[in-house]
Symmetry: C2
Subunit: 369 residues, 2 copies
């Protein structure tokens, strides 16, 4: 008998080891689900039997995912590890009360992907055809949460999510980010040295502007309805290229000639979770407010000064025309911190004193990944 | 201080317990991923560096899932436990080589659901618009596997999957089942005592025929393109109902007046995994064959007799007109067992001697759930 193990022997030994690990994982998942049931029982004990209790705690979930990633030493990526924990939590939670989520459809869009990334596949996710319908469903209590893109995404959302907050009492309960990469692709018949037309959605063209300026300064940029349509158009065009995701290349049999050409290396699309809940601190949080003011010289500068003085990190400022006409402009402002922190609450009071109106849209855990 | 713990204390203790469990789960998932890498290394050691090795083993995966369900004592359902293990395996496998899967699209269909149910969300799943395109992609090696519905599904597939096997060397590597429930729903304005029209897809109407005969014998049954369309139509119709899934009721604000009305309590739609691989025994397997023969009196009875004599469970027999014209009919036959079992191989030889042509479509693990 040879001292060296055969391939079959090695594989068999590894499989026995994997089976033993699986047995432990299964046992622990069951134990975790039992704990989740106990948590639900404790919460129910102090409430009337017919109370509509929501067992989902966004801040707690963010903490669990962050810990799972901190502890992770590979070989799985943090993203995969967080995804698995998301699914485990989703399954445990669905034992009590599966979460119902409305999202901006149709099915198969990035927003659906964001909803399932955030709530896991044990949640019930229902598509709606407009952002204000998603708001209405959450307000009416037909679903627990809504998922909407923050701004016009590459999928042709036309109305503006932020405007919907103006007439609504819903809160932002969380955010989701999906990383989106752009690639330049051509068909088999394309002569790559003579590309004179580049198709893509206008937003993707904008997101790759610098790269295109450097590499294809003379090519005509043609905006079409979606990146998938751009890829589809290439068929039979010998002097055209398209910017799209790698799935589109697979789908239409195209060849990638340049990958990850977006100007911002972590190009991502952001989505908001909307609900009725105010979310407690998770430790790494963001706050969104909307502020109304007259358009006077230096007004915005004056408004933002307290953030600057207290070293609070502004992550986004967006100006939108006011719908009511009473004020010239509204500003949507995102910053790092939670309204329950004394510093943040003080700064917000100061900001409120400098504008006509301030509305808190919500403090929520920063996107985990 | 009270002996009784407050709600906050109880919750805090439970959360500490959950965190400890999570730490163990994370450690074990990492250990499992390392084992999966070792498996890959062992396989690679004996092959040329550029060999296209497929690390996915359908029979092994089926065994792992069956064990996970056997060991499961709750509180999670076997379905949820299997789903979590599917995702863990999917993540471990993607470390080496993410599986690419072509499915009958568009996105958001049951076939996509089936593909992700079977391969987990770390697989790359690409939609194609026709079943023969899915076959071509797999044959060309652009993807590792294809997922196709076995028969006309409620989503409007018109060509017949089985016919594609006639001109192809692809094998059936697995099957997936999705359970599909039908419900009767009405809108707010409907007078439930005077329902005179019931909308649904023709297949759903057929699947609920007995229930409808018993409960709404006089209502007109109207077949429309999809169950979602049936639900949508109800708006404003005071004497109509629709048969659809519960998601459609949520989607269009309808009221369920009867649930799970399908005649077969485990109504499910079946999908096939197609690939180039012959799959070894998993312990609980099925085999699909296609048989060509002349349409003589008693021919089918004669053909099936060896199965009956050896007590082999036939799970499905379907007759299709032959395309070549040389033979009047072909029969697609599914039965329990694997072609590597001596008994099955003997029976197949006997059956082959009784017909003009017999082609093995594949032996593969029975759908796990």
């Amino acid at each position: 008998m040879s001292i060296e193990q055969t391939e079959a022997e090695k594989l068999s030994a590894l499989r026995i080891k994997i089976d033993a690990i699986d047995e432990e994982i299964g046992r622990l998942i069951s134990a975790r689900a039992e704990c989740a049931q106990e948590v639900a029982d404790v919460k129910k004990a102090n409430l009337p039997a017919d109370a509509d209790i929501l067992f989902y705690r966004p801040e707690r979930e963010a903490q669990v995912l962050r810990k799972a990633m901190e502890r992770n030493k590979g070989p799985l990526s943090n993203e995969e590890m967080a995804r698995l924990f998301r699914e485990i939590m989703s399954a445990c939670l669905a034992l009590e009360n599966p979460i119902k989520v409305a999202y901006l459809g149709p099915e198969g869009t990035f927003t659906q992907q964001a909803a399932l990334k955030h709530f896991g596949h044990s949640a019930i996710a229902i598509p709606f055809s407009a952002i204000d319908e998603v708001f209405r469903e959450v307000e009416a209590g037909a679903v627990n949460y809504g998922v909407v893109p923050v701004e016009n995404s590459t999928e042709g959302v036309v109305n503006h999510t932020l405007d919907n907050f103006m007439g609504s009492n819903l809160k932002i309960c969380g955010e989701v980010e999906l990383r989106i990469h752009h690639n330049l692709m051509v068909s088999d018949v394309t002569n790559t040295s003579s590309i004179s037309r580049i198709y893509s959605h206008s937003q993707s063209l904008a997101q790759c502007r610098k790269w295109l300026d450097a590499h294809y300064p003379k090519a005509e940029r043609i905006a079409v309805n979606s990146n998938a349509e751009a890829a589809k158009r290439l068929k039979g065009e010998w002097n055209a290229a398209a910017i799209a995701g790698s799935m589109a290349a697979d789908l239409y049999g195209l060849k990638l000639i340049a990958e990850k050409i977006e100007d911002q290396p972590d190009n991502s699309t952001r989505f908001l979770i909307i609900g009725k809940q105010s979310v407690p601190q998770s430790g790494v949080d963001k706050t969104s407010i909307v502020v109304a003011m007259r358009n006077e010289p230096g007004a915005l500068h004056n408004l933002l000064e307290p953030f600057h003085r207290h070293n609070i990190d502004l992550t986004r400022v967006e100006t939108r025309p006011s719908r009511t006409g009473a004020w010239t402009y509204v500003f949507f402002i995102d910053f790092v911190g939670h309204v329950d922190e004394p510093l943040i609450s003080d700064v917000m009071k100061e900001v409120a004193s400098r504008c006509a109106d301030l509305k808190l849209l919500g403090s929520y855990p920063k996107a985990v990944l």
